[in-house]
């Protein structure tokens, strides 16, 4: 791209202009170069409200080309209202194709889940992050937070895990479990549940975290060490569905969610559930 094109942009259907894309890509490069470090970026106004996936949307729009295939899920569901609208926004403004099958997608934007299967070296996982700061619960002063990250001073985070264990007997934190990335920075893994955390460790795919409201981007590059913070004698555990299986596809080895006020469990990843049923039939 020539400087002249940047200065005199032609009108297009795209939501982000070239200046914005460039700035977001630079922030992403910095984030990949320093795994787990929260890079500030100039979060743009999007046609969705902040807090509704605007950070993930900006990352997706900055990485997607018209030859990409996009999958968007909300709580593991391709047909959630928010997922449908975001996917339509991305595909119509960039010309990219859409899919619900993770293996076919090159960019997967998600709130809450990593698809059960199908991610490989070619995939980019974009997560919509509500609260990017893992230490927000223990400290409010931004300067103090910056210092704690700079000095890798995470003792207060450990104290909060200690308190959780003392008060409840088990670690109760579900989404956003704090993890040490590349043996350096602690990140919030919001919005994904504990179930998906082991899958971030040494993963083949690139994970980009975007927080539009908090104006931060951070990343876990492929093949990066991701360790959940746990005490030596308190092993890290994923969610337990008490041996239940999916009411539709009978799977018991996927992340299951229960319907409200019932014992009925279902796969959280709806596309995986559909494919399992088709394979069983």
């Amino acid at each position: 791209m020539l400087l002249d094109d940047l200065i005199n942009p032609t009108q297009s259907d795209e939501l982000l202009d070239e200046f914005a894309k460039r700035e977001i890509r630079r922030a992403m490069l910095a984030a990949v170069a320093i795994p787990g470090y929260q890079v500030p970026f100039g979060s743009r106004e999007m046609p969705v409200a902040r807090g509704w996936g605007s950070g993930g949307l900006q990352i997706t729009l900055a990485v997607v080309h018209d030859d990409d295939v996009v999958k968007v899920i909300d709580q593991g569901d391709d047909d959630g209202v928010n997922a449908v609208n975001l996917r339509r926004l991305v595909t119509t403004s960039t010309g990219a194709d859409q899919t619900s099958v993770a293996a076919e997608a090159s960019v997967i934007q998600s709130r809450h889940r990593i698809p059960e299967d199908g991610l490989d070296e070619e995939s980019i996982l974009v997560l919509q992050v509500p609260v990017p700061e893992p230490l927000r619960g223990v400290e409010r002063d931004m300067r103090e937070l910056a210092r704690m990250h700079a000095e890798a001073d995470y003792s207060r985070m450990w104290v909060s895990l200690y308190e959780d264990k003392v008060r409840n007997g088990v670690i109760t934190q579900t989404t956003g479990y704090p993890c040490l990335v590349n043996e350096r920075y602690v990140v919030a893994t919001t919005p994904i549940p504990r179930w998906d955390i082991p899958r971030l460790h040494e993963s083949p795919f690139l994970t980009l975290f975007g927080a539009g409201r908090e104006k931060r981007i951070y990343a876990i590059p492929p093949r990066t060490k991701v360790e959940p913070l746990t005490f030596d004698d308190v092993p890290f555990e994923v969610e337990d569905a008490d041996g239940a299986s999916c009411a539709m596809c009978k799977s018991s080895d996927a992340f299951l969610v229960s319907l409200p006020n019932s014992d009925v469990w279902m796969c959280s990843d709806t596309d995986w559930c559909r494919r399992t049923r088709e394979a069983n039939a």
């Binding site: 000095e151 001073d153 450990w158 104290v159 200690y162 308190e163 003392v166 030596d232 004698d233």
Partner: protein
């Protein structure tokens, strides 16, 4: 073995001069611009620590002392005399304007004021601890007593939940906090118990130097006596080099063997504690002692 040591104004027989653990030289802290004339325009002779020349406040100037392992040094003076400023400079909460503080650690001597802020904070984890007058400054009130002690332990690299629990209960037992209160929020503790938890936290990583800033000022007399007893036995037990800041001679008499008397930011008298109480030389010290004894 005894040696003659020139101390104060007459020689005192003492055991062999102990090696210092913390050595402070010509420490000064001035709020505002200053030069020699500004410094000279303040002090006990002038009767103020605020300069008439430019309004700068000389909170502390030319404070020198050393403390050995197992020894407690008192810093006495009325409020505003600069004793807490000295302590806060040593703790790293306030930057000194001048001077040097050398601390003896396992890895050799370090000059505390030359360390960068992060190295300075690491020192606070396992080498130099502070017990503040206000427990809210040294503790997080909305977490449990055990959690407060877990903080310095995890900062020092402890990662075993069982070991942290054991160490915390050991410390709380030692500081006479009922062990069944270990998992209660510190917010709900009485003043004396908060102070005991703060002492337990300070001792978590067995520091070689502990700074006490008016450790019993907020407590009523009987509780204060208990806390003082505890501090005294801990100092002996762990061979800690301690600095005790107080305006209360009862505290100083009970804990310290030597003390400095400060007035308007300067040290006006430096003597053994019992000698100071029996035979104060400086007129200001005489007034202080008289006030405390009446």
């Amino acid at each position: 073995m005894t040696t003659e040591v020139e101390y104060g104004r007459y020689p005192v027989a003492r055991l062999a001069v102990p090696e210092w653990m913390l050595k402070v030289e010509r420490l000064g802290r001035v709020y505002g611009p200053f030069d020699d004339a500004v410094i000279a325009s303040t002090g006990p002779e002038v009767g103020s620590s605020k300069s008439a020349l430019n309004g700068a406040v000389v909170a502390a100037w030319d404070v020198s002392f050393e403390v050995a392992a197992g020894e407690a040094l008192g810093l006495v003076g009325e409020s505003g005399s600069g004793k807490t400023t000295v302590l806060r400079c040593l703790a790293g909460d306030v930057a000194p304007s001048r001077g040097e503080a050398r601390l003896r650690t396992a890895a050799g001597d370090v000059s505390m004021f030359e360390l960068d802020p992060s190295a300075r904070r690491r020192l606070r984890i396992d080498t130099l601890a502070v017990v503040y007058q206000d427990p809210a400054e040294g503790l997080k009130l909305n977490i449990s007593a055990g959690g407060n002690i877990a903080e310095p332990l995890t900062a020092a690299g402890w990662r075993n939940f069982g070991n942290i629990r054991n160490r915390a209960s050991e410390l709380l037992t030692r500081t006479e906090v009922p062990i069944n209160r270990m998992d209660d929020l510190v917010r709900g503790f009485s003043g004396g118990m908060k102070q005991r938890v703060q002492i337990a936290k300070a001792l978590a990583n067995s520091p070689s130097v502990v700074l006490f800033d008016e450790p019993t000022t907020g407590l009523d007399a009987s509780v204060a006596a208990g806390v003082l007893d505890l501090i005294r036995s801990l100092l002996e037990e762990h061979r800690i080099a301690a600095i005790v800041v107080s305006h209360d001679f009862a505290v100083i008499e009970m804990l310290t063997s030597r003390c400095l008397v400060m007035q308007h930011g300067r040290v006006v008298e430096n003597a053994l504690t019992d000698q100071l109480l029996e035979d104060p030389h400086h007129p200001y010290t005489q007034r202080l002692v008289a006030a405390a004894r009446s």
